[in-house]
Amino acid sequence: MVVAAIALAGCGPLSRAELTRGVETLSAVAAEAQLVARGVASDRTRATYTRVQARTLAEDAAHEAEKLADASVDGEIARQRDQAVALAMRLDDTIGELETFPGSERTGSKVDDDLGAIADDIDKLTQRLTQGP
């Protein structure tokens, strides 16, 4: 009985709660990447650290994008799911710039701004998800 319930939860369509959790993960990744970017922008960090940590965070975003894109989804949250996937991919690309130019102060401040914009979009999506359809 319990096993069956767990199996269903794993294979069934993506629930609103699961989607919300995925979006929250994106929000945390964006927040952390923003802290890293600010270090780059103000030249207060090390390039190797930035590169490795940015790569890890970009992988997190890509992983989340993949997970959400692969899940089957019911009609009512399909649109939000697609938005979440798009945001995750934007996040991956933006953090990727940090990985490519970990020593550039200009890239740092640009990425900081871009991540701020993404974070706003993530917040809006979260609000829509928690307020219901």
Partner: protein
């Protein structure tokens, strides 16, 4: 004064054991998710591990018996064997996790493939252990691990609201399952028993006598006191810097940001170095703990003071644990997942090694006038209860929260 200078053993046991990959991650996550609200769990863990270490160090100084000597003699061969196998399993997960931690930190310094650095890190540690005498090892990792104080400085730098900090030392009764999972995880991460196997064996390595009991007490109090301070510093800094920003630290590489944000590149480098020595020390602690356990259980000659050729099977055992740890990492398991499981499983197994030590520490046949006094007696029994509660609660909480994944 001389006694104060001899707290190196407590420092490596506490810093390279207490503040290991598990503590660095759990404390930072706890601060990021719950602010100051889990601070109370730190002193519970710290006092517990200090009580356990003090008793085992006292037993070792008086009777020359480290923990697995006591286990074999008190529990006999068959029960002792179960405890040995359980401890070695947890130890292996821990060694693997700590080597993984070293590899991640090297990666953050030099950016090269993880597996390469796991190999380099493990070989580097093996060479250091091989050429350095026991006292040298504990000083190297113990003293250099003190660089982690950069996190305490970071916590103070942000001008904490002391009223709120104080409130964190009272448990929050209304909170979620995840909150209690973290509470148990924090206590468990502090109570990793391999530190105590290492500590009590180290007391024999250093030839402690009953006249060294003051040194033992200072080691337990100062060593773990400092470990606790570092944990509190990490949690406070994380509560101040990560919680408001909405960061959920899921990587070891996130932790050094806590020092980078206030102190820039210098802070970052210090944090990485301190973590490298603390986690490297923990890898040494854990692999030695495994070798000590096997050798003491089987009665082999053991000890770094014997040199490799004087205690060959013991030497082979710690080398083997480095190799096995690497093999576990090669399977591709995330070191942080390993950490989580090793912490939770170790607390489940903890009462098994705690009970025999408590029993011999109070036994006047073996301890004479150095048997548990009133304070040790009360704390010893109180912590037996605490340990059992934590051990029983750990697994259901792990499952209920999907290993903290929410």
């Amino acid at each position: 004064m001389k006694a104060i200078l001899r707290v190196a053993l407590g420092l490596i046991a506490a810093i390279g054991g207490f503040v290991d990959i598990g503590d660095l991650v759990f404390n930072t996550q706890a601060g990021a998710l719950f602010g100051y609200e889990l601070l109370w769990a730190v002193p519970i863990g710290v006092v517990g591990i200090a009580v356990y270490a003090e008793m085992s160090g006292r037993v070792a100084a008086v009777t020359k018996r480290p923990v697995f000597d006591v286990i074999r003699m008190r529990m006999g061969l068959s029960t002792g064997l179960i405890v040995l196998v359980a401890s070695l399993f947890v130890n292996l997960l821990t060694v693997a996790a700590e080597i993984g931690g070293v590899a991640i930190l090297l990666q953050l310094f030099f950016d090269a493939p993880f597996m390469l650095f796991a190999l380099v890190g493990a070989l580097g540690l093996i060479v250091i252990i091989w050429i350095t005498p026991f006292e040298g090892i504990e000083r190297l990792f113990g003293y250099l691990g003190l660089i982690l104080f950069v996190f305490v400085a970071a916590a103070l730098h942000e001008h904490p609201d002391w009223h709120a900090v104080g409130g964190g030392f009272v448990p929050n009764g209304k909170s979620s399952t995840l909150y209690w999972y973290f509470a148990v995880g924090l206590i468990a991460a502090a109570l990793m028993p391999y530190e105590v196997y290492f500590y009590s064996s180290g007391a024999v390595e250093e030839g402690w006598k009953p006249s060294d009991l003051l040194v033992n007490r200072l080691n337990a109090v100062i060593g773990y006191g400092i470990g606790g301070l570092l944990s509190i510093g990490l949690m406070m800094a994380s509560a101040q810097l990560f919680e408001p920003a909405g960061v959920e630290p899921d990587h070891l590489g996130t932790v050094p940001l806590l020092a980078q944000l206030p102190y820039g590149e210098t802070g970052l480098v210090l944090a990485l170095l301190g973590m490298l020595f603390a986690i490297g020390g923990a890898a040494v602690d854990a692999s030695f703990a495994a070798a000590y356990s096997i050798a003491q259980f089987a009665g082999w000659e053991w000890g770094k003071y014997r040199r490799a050729s004087g205690a060959p099977r013991f030497t082979l055992a710690w080398l083997l644990f480095f190799a096995l740890g690497l093999a576990v990492l090669m399977t591709g398991i995330d070191p942080l997942d390993l950490t989580e499981y090793s912490v939770v499983l170790s607390v489940v197994a903890l009462p098994l090694t705690y009970v025999p030590v408590l029993l011999i520490a109070r036994d006047r046949t073996f301890m004479g006038e150095y048997a548990n006094g009133p304070v040790a007696r009360v704390l010893g029994w109180v912590y037996l209860v605490v340990l059992c509660v934590v051990a029983v609660a750990a697994i259901p909480l792990l499952l209920a929260t999907n290993a903290g994944g929410g």
